[in-house]
Homo-oligomer: 123 residues x 2
Amino acid sequence: MFQALAAATRRDILRRTIASEQSVSQLAAAYEISFAAVQKHVAVLEAAQLIVKRAEGRERLVRADPRMIARARALLARYEDLWRSRVDRLDALFSEPSTSPRIHPSIHPATDAAPPATRTEGA
Amino acid sequence: MFQALAAATRRDILRRTIASEQSVSQLAAAYEISFAAVQKHVAVLEAAQLIVKRAEGRERLVRADPRMIARARALLARYEDLWRSRVDRLDALFSEPSTSPRIHPSIHPATDAAPPATRTEGA
DNA sequence: CTAACGTACAACCAAATGGTTGTACAAACT
DNA sequence: AGTTTGTACAACCATTTGGTTGTACGTTAG
């Protein structure tokens, strides 16, 4: 799935098919590469379930399926949550043991996030 | 960057280094593959700025950098936003022209999201 | 000093990837 | 019917990728 998102052309196809359903020919016309190459990219995206194809006459209409995009995003969000909980653990080391866990005031990893080089050095 | 996230081993390395800073040797011990292979994975993750390395004696301590993860997540979120605005546009087609734009009641794309096959067929 | 450890890197290899052209076939147009 | 259009797919090619082993080098331990 990340593999499917790895190529810029495929991300662009995804972007275009989010905007509006398009035939494979229409997509192919948008790039320098051959029709067959675009068709293969579409096949990869389809295999990754990032798009769905629908037959209409001789055309194959392609549209993005946001569900897999959401899945990918959720996975990355989970990583970020892991990171946050790691920070919480380190934070707990610096708070006196008798103190209640205290909800962290406002940690915003996305902004800067310079993690202390304290390292847990876990087994 | 998505390329770096494409390999499962690298995602696992990322996960481990989110949990706690680890040396390349420690990471290598966790997998069947050779040390050199792991070292290369680490290099790829480093090039993608998903991790940072820090020298400590003869060891290189690896830890995840959440900033790039956030960037990837934000990019996917933008795709989802595009999809939502597309729905809004289609929605507008079905609302009578004289009506005020009206904020969409509650669209939840992540749940099912079966977009109408109306297609804008843009130029 | 010498040995062991941790890392980096080069050289090599098989498989996957992204691209090409050519062929086949169904749908639509004349 | 015959031609054009849209798609799929096979065969092929160059490059990248993920893996290997071997070598070199700085750092720690004996």
